[in-house]
Symmetry: C2
Subunit: 158 residues, 2 copies
């Protein structure tokens, strides 16, 4: 296949970027992976206004990345917290891959800001490319072929 | 560590998103991983104007993601092609992680648009979270602790 014949907007990378290409989506998800669930905690940590955060959380719930869950502290009224839905949790490899790239290329002389470690064993966590046969894969060792959802550009143009 | 005390802008995820949070950066890199190097090929496949693409490529060369390399076809004047620099190539796990998320959650009934396979063995390629000790890591099994480049929010505020 000549990939130039592929309609570049049907690619899964492009589709994913339509949703997570707004950088704040991944930043809010990062907060969720850190364990922040409450509006005020997320707002304080991200340093955005209430109205901006409310709109973003609404969008992320609508996209199925987060779920609303009610909670109530003793003697207080019911409130809403935001927890990861499966669709949001599945973005964790993207966040880890971004973190390791930033650690390698942008950390500077100060060193890495945060270590991510495997609970229990304590070893550093990274995103690695592997194939289903169990090989570690280098970026130069990947071949692409059309799948069933492939659309050719000429099919789009008519 | 309470991660709420961390200055959220010093995190490597936030820093990476300052560069790759503009979705077109990853789309241009995708073209480079597909093997497209020439301005006209990239332009045609992405369907953007010459001036927009030229500005984007300039930025990506400045960021160190791409390198310019001269080439000359017989009987024609010298031209420039764009090849992946190491800093750009290191983003491949981000692209693979985005692709697999899109394949899983956004492909719909048509199925996956493109299969990415390990050259030689033909098995599907994916981004997997592993630790240095060789364990496969689940998103719920990650702990974070401050690294040397960590900045507390109060240190920033005053």
């Amino acid at each position: 296949m000549d990939l130039r014949d592929l309609d570049s907007s049907t690619c899964s990378v492009a589709r994913s970027l339509e949703i997570v290409g707004r950088p704040w989506v991944l930043l809010v998800l990062r907060e969720a992976f850190y364990g922040l669930r409450r509006f005020s905690d997320i707002q304080e940590h991200l340093g955005v206004s209430r109205s901006v955060l409310a709109a973003r959380l609404d969008e992320m719930v609508e996209e199925g990345l987060l779920e609303r869950r009610p909670y109530r502290e003793p003697g207080r009224r019911e409130r809403t917290e935001y927890v990861l839905a499966d669709k949001g949790r599945d973005l964790y490899p993207v966040i880890v891959a971004l973190r390791q790239w930033g650690d390698r290329h942008l950390a500077g002389d100060d060193g890495v800001p945060v270590h991510a470690e495997h609970a229990g064993c304590g070893a550093s966590v990274r995103a690695e490319l592997v194939c289903e046969a169990g090989h570690v894969v280098d970026s130069g060792d990947v071949e692409r072929r059309p799948g069933p959802g492939m659309r050719r550009r000429d099919a789009v143009a008519g």
